[in-house]
């Protein structure tokens, strides 16, 4: 069965229906593009056909391009992948342009109206195809999302969406849609000028057909003589400032590390200066340029393909469905409250327990506030709020836990307290209920000793704030069994987050990488590197927060606590004395970070950062000679990346895909790179080993290339070559 089928009606309207059989949402493939192309030819050639409506057989229109297609074109193309990608892209342009011209001659005479009828979500090429049609009808479906999110995975709309949207609405109006990938519901999409009509869902097809039969004008503005770009082309006085400003905004926001945003803007600028067909060719050249950039393939691999694979259970033990029906959340503090919220949002019944009713209620109030905010932003309804709140039972009574099939314990980070709670819970649930502990620092295997059955005990490390952070780190203790893993992963799927599964070791995966990052930043301050240089260098390499800002956010006293505990655990091998000197001094000064409105940064009374704390320079003088920004960046990157490599060596990470996805979602590791392992592959292991060993000579043994990296460098291996997806560390 083809993905597109055509039904020529007696009324003269040919309805082309997009329905990919084995997928919940339509995605475009190479084969389906050819089928669509053939159907368009057929409809245009058939005198009985007066016009065409393109719609979907599902309640959504389409999710976009199958991004695996782009990877496979590149791989199949041999030694000239750029040409293959360019020609593929131009092929798409020809087909869409055929729809847009619809048989008109060069005087704009003739042609058949073609309408798009979108029952729901239309993303990426799922919107670029409608944009090539002559009128877009969208069903009034508030859940539908309409937009061009390509930029989020490191590419940009390359099937004419960039060129058409800018010509349709102007560069300024199109920029949030193109540069931020902003999605709109149908009504907002109409207000923005993306779709033309919003109609009741059951009238969608009829409205589109009626329009097709109304002998409408179908010439696009840009195919008319005298077309002028809304808002002004680049050298029009009105457009001038838009374009000058756009470069600055994109540069400042992307810190220059996202090639797609730059390429998009260039395609818009260069395209605006030439006729439409030339603009499409320019768009294709820039699109190809981005696809050829290793950053875009790494981003697609981590942020789209592998993220989705992990969400769909790529590392889940092959066991029967473990969908959670009733979860017990122990501890209604910040973490517990967030866990209760995301569980209830997923429709799971929640028992939220704390020592006092007041504390439990406060935890539940977090959900109330969240829903109220949603209502004020029109993203939720009062009914939905009641529904969600009704799922949460805030109580002090452990007896309410009866019938739970998962416990998530989120009490104070103290082994004693946790052990006590574990016993209390299992007195009600028995030892067979899967028991998950939310911890960021305590070894799971130790905590498991308090459980009746260590096989049913597992770590689930949520990131804060729970409702915003997309990653969940599932930690297997020494004795954790497959059932517990499957349960944890099914739960993570229910709450719509992305899981990684790691083995139990100090700080698991995310924190073992992020702590050295913070420490390296602090260490540089001690050395006399300008704090501004440390922070800016981090941001210029794509880290969302500089290390000093990050430690202010997580709090200095937490840093002190972790440092002290680590020192006790490691003894003489502890390497971070220099860091502790600064950290402990800050703590003594009462500069505990953002919560104290004083840290490495100064804050105003409202807690807003006003700038780096000037007192820092009084204690740690900024050196006369400053290092090159690249050296600072290498230090900040390698301290994280080497930890990731050690995590593979030590079998904490069992799959490098999880290492890459987890790094980006967990702590925002330079998303442009696709993650630490993608970055190593991008720069090449031989260069990486040499560069980090050079850092080791200059800055200490923590930079010495781990044996695995040395070995791979010597063999010229890449991580994704050696550790094929799904394969365990070889």
């Amino acid at each position: 069965m083809n993905d597109f089928t055509m039904n020529k009606g007696a009324d003269g309207v040919a309805v082309i229906t997009w329905d990919v059989r084995d997928k919940s949402m339509n995605v475009m493939t190479r084969a389906s593009m050819l089928v669509l192309d053939g159907l368009i030819d057929d409809a245009l050639a058939d005198d009985a056909v007066k016009g065409v409506v393109i719609t979907s057989g599902k309640d959504t229109f389409a999710g976009g391009m199958d991004l695996n297609v782009l990877a496979s074109i590149r791989e199949e193309a041999g030694d000239d992948p750029a040409r293959a990608l360019f020609e593929f892209t131009m092929g798409g342009h020809h087909m869409l342009r055929k729809i847009e011209r619809a048989g008109m001659d060069d005087k704009n005479k003739g042609g058949k109206p073609i309408a798009a009828a979108l029952p729901g979500t239309a993303l990426g090429i799922g919107l670029e195809l409608p944009l090539a049609c002559h009128r877009i009808f969208a069903a009034d479906n508030p859940k539908a999302k309409i937009g061009l999110p390509e930029i989020m995975v490191g590419i940009f709309p390359g099937a004419g969406g960039t060129t058409r949207l800018v010509r349709k609405m102007g560069a300024m109006a199109a920029s949030p849609l193109l540069l931020e990938g902003r999605l709109n519901d149908p009504k907002k999409a109409k207000m923005a000028g993306v779709v033309d009509e919003v109609v009741a869902p059951d009238e969608l097809l009829d409205a589109a057909k009626a329009w097709v039969l109304s002998e409408p004008a179908i010439v696009k503005p840009w195919d008319e003589k005298g077309y002028k770009m809304p808002g002004g082309a680049p050298y029009h006085p009105a457009g001038f400032m838009t374009f000058v400003g756009a470069s600055a905004m994109v540069n400042g926001k992307t810190k220059g590390v996202y090639p797609a945003a730059k390429a998009l803007l260039s395609a818009v600028y260069e395209g605006a200066l030439v006729p439409f067909d030339t603009a499409l060719k320019i768009e294709a050249r820039w699109f190809t340029h981005v696809l050829m950039n290793p950053s875009s393939s790494a981003m697609i691999r981590s942020l789209f393909i592998n993220k989705e694979a992990l969400e769909k259970g790529a590392v889940r033990p092959d066991l029967e469905d473990q969908t959670v029906r009733k979860v017990g959340v122990i501890g209604a503090g910040m973490m517990g409250a967030g866990i209760a919220l995301v569980s209830a949002l997923a429709g799971i019944e929640v028992v939220l327990i704390d020592n006092t009713q007041e504390a439990a209620d406060k935890g539940k109030a977090y959900t109330t506030a969240y829903m109220d905010k949603g209502i004020s932003r029109k993203k939720a309804t009062p009914e939905k709020k009641e529904q969600v709140l009704a799922l949460i039972n805030a109580t002090t009574g452990y007896a309410a836990l009866a019938g739970c099939d998962l416990i998530v314990e989120a009490v104070f980070e103290d082994p004693g307290v946790k052990a006590e709670v574990t016993a209390k819970v299992q007195a009600v649930t028995g030892p067979d209920c899967i028991f998950a502990t939310n911890t960021s620092t305590l070894p799971i295997s130790q905590l498991a000793k308090a459980a009746g059955d260590p096989e049913k005990f597992i770590g689930i490390h949520f990131f804060s704030p729970v409702d915003k952070m997309m990653l969940v780190e599932v930690i297997k203790g020494q004795k954790t069994g497959d059932l517990a893993v499957a349960k944890a992963l099914d739960y993570v799927r229910q709450i719509r987050k992305t899981p990684i599964v790691v083995n139990d070791a100090r700080f698991f995966y995310a924190n073992r990488c992020i702590i050295p990052y913070i420490n390296e930043g602090i260490r540089m301050v001690k050395e006399g590197v300008a704090p501004a240089l440390v922070e800016n260098a981090a941001k210029l390499v794509g880290m969302p927060l500089g290390p000093l800002q990050l430690v202010d956010e997580t709090s200095i006293d937490l840093g002190v606590k972790i440092a002290k505990a680590t020192k006790v655990a490691m003894g003489d091998a502890y390497p971070d004395g220099a860091v502790d000197e600064v950290l402990f001094w800050m703590a003594e000064e009462g500069r505990l970070g953002r919560k104290a409105k004083a840290g490495f940064y100064a804050y105003d009374e409202k807690g807003k950062r006003s700038g780096l704390w000037e007192g820092l320079a009084g204690k740690y003088t900024v050196a006369e000679t400053q290092p090159d920004v690249t050296e600072v960046q290498h230090r900040l990157l390698f301290v994280q990346v080497l930890e990731a490599v050690r995590a593979v060596e030590e079998d904490v990470l069992m799959d490098i895909r999880e290492g890459d996805v987890g790094a980006i979602l967990g702590w925002g590791f330079a998303p442009w790179s696709g993650g630490p392992f993608s970055w190593l592959d991008m720069v090449g292991t031989p260069w990486a080993a040499e560069a980090t060993n050079l850092l080791a000579e200059q800055h200490g043994e923590r930079f010495r290339a781990p044996a695995l990296l040395e070995e791979m460098a010597a063999k010229g291996q890449s991580f994704y070559g050696r550790f094929r997806p799904g394969a365990k560390a070889a």
């Binding site: 374009f243 000058v244 600055a248 730059k262 260039s266 501004a532 800016n536 400053q626």
Partner: protein
């Protein structure tokens, strides 16, 4: 190689570069032609007297487009056999015209040249000729483009120049310009602009604000703060290039930046033989010329490296220069120059500068060279240097010495 000499140097008064400026009614061609006619009559340049007219002008569109140099020659009383060359090196165009002319003479390509420039900023808006470096993302982003005002503020930040430093320089520029006018120091070179009937339109620099003090300047808002910090956020771009800075200190405003004005200037350049042939006495020898490219983001630091270059190339030291004209595009440019060379303000822009009198882009280079020469003659100094910062990161300089 023969030497190149300056035989004459004139300029127009500077009119406010606005619709209510006195020169707004005068076309760019007319203003240029009056300069050419004045040079012709002052120096009796009959017939095919000079090889070329090299004319600096930045915004070469509209009436300033289409090779304004040639149009101006044709509109003037000069012989039609004299061609015209329109050039653009942004703010140094007028100086570059002189340098090109001098080097043609030195190289033996003709004996005499007219060099100068014009900018009618009230009539042809700055920036209206477009600029790929600002607009084309693949250039703007790769070069970390920011507007000049932001660049001037980066200089202030990088070199620890305060708002008070800048305002003090601005006050001094106003005081010096007023004193110079009161003392008739520009009298020999100012060519009053007249209409076709010979009626005066403007005979003085009308942009000046005598009496400006620290207090009045203190009330002015920093001009580039919003575009830097808010929309579209040029400071973030600046910090990408200068990551050791935490933020940009915005110190510049309308009162300590150069004024937008209309104006023109011209010099008569020639060899020794040219002077003998036309019975003219050389006023100064053009000893050296130089130009250089610098980082385009901080953009306006060019006067420092170009001065280093011109001194090195000619075996000179900063102490060999008796008097400086450093174009007051922004206060920080001049402050940085004095800081870098440890030169006292008693040697720099002693008759005021563009902050007080204005900066008609394409003309200024020729104007300040004339101002420098007038002052060298008045105060009996031997050697002078004129230099300007230039958009997109360049610098130009000229050293002259009296003969």
């Amino acid at each position: 190689m023969s030497d190149a000499y300056i035989y004459d140097a004139i300029r127009s008064p500077r009119g406010k570069g606005r619709k209510d400026g006195a020169l707004h009614e005068v076309t760019s061609v007319q203003l240029s032609a009056q300069m050419l006619n004045s040079l012709k009559s002052r120096n009796a340049l009959e017939g095919h007297a000079v090889e070329d007219v090299i004319w600096g002008n930045v915004t070469q569109v509209g009436e300033q487009g289409g090779c304004l140099a040639r149009t101006a020659v044709l509109a003037s009383d000069l012989d039609e056999r004299i061609p015209g060359l329109a050039i653009n090196r942004f703010c140094a165009s007028g100086l570059e015209a002189v340098n090109l002319a001098a080097n043609q003479v030195r190289g033996g390509a003709g004996e005499g040249y007219i060099a100068g420039g014009v900018e009618m900023m009230s009539r042809v808006a700055m920036g209206s000729d477009g600029a790929a470096i600002a607009v084309d993302p693949s250039v703007a982003m790769e070069t970390y483009f920011v507007p000049q005002g932001i660049s001037a503020d980066i200089i202030a930040t990088e070199y620890n120049l305060s708002r008070d430093d800048a305002d003090a320089l601005a006050v001094e520029s106003q005081n010096r310009a007023k004193a110079a006018w009161d003392d008739n120091r520009f009298a020999g070179s100012i060519v009053p602009i007249r209409d076709r009937n010979g009626i005066d339109i403007l005979d003085h620099d009308e942009y000046m604000r005598p009496g400006t003090d620290m207090q009045s300047l203190g009330a002015l808002r920093a001009s580039f703060k919003d575009m830097g910090e808010v929309m579209p956020g040029f400071d973030a771009v600046a910090l990408m290039k200068y990551p050791h800075l935490e933020r940009i200190n915005h110190i510049h405003h309308a009162g300590n930046s150069s004024g937008i004005v209309d104006g023109a200037a011209a010099l008569l350049i020639g060899s020794k033989e040219f002077g003998e042939q036309h019975d003219l006495k050389p006023r100064a020898r053009i000893r050296a010329t130089a130009k250089i490219g610098t980082d385009p983001t901080i953009m306006l630091t060019g006067p420092v490296p170009v001065t280093q270059k011109i001194l090195e190339d000619n075996g000179m030291a900063i102490g060999d220069i008796d008097l400086f004209e450093v174009n007051e595009a922004f206060a920080s440019v001049v402050l940085r120059f004095m800081q870098a060379f440890d030169v006292g303000s008693d040697k720099v822009n002693v008759n005021g500068g563009a902050i007080a009198m204005g900066h008609p882009l394409g003309a200024t280079g020729a104007m300040i060279l004339g101002t420098l020469l007038d002052e060298m003659e008045r105060s009996d100094k031997e050697t002078g240097l004129a230099t300007l910062c230039i958009a997109s990161g360049m610098g130009a300089a000229t050293i002259i010495e009296r003969v």
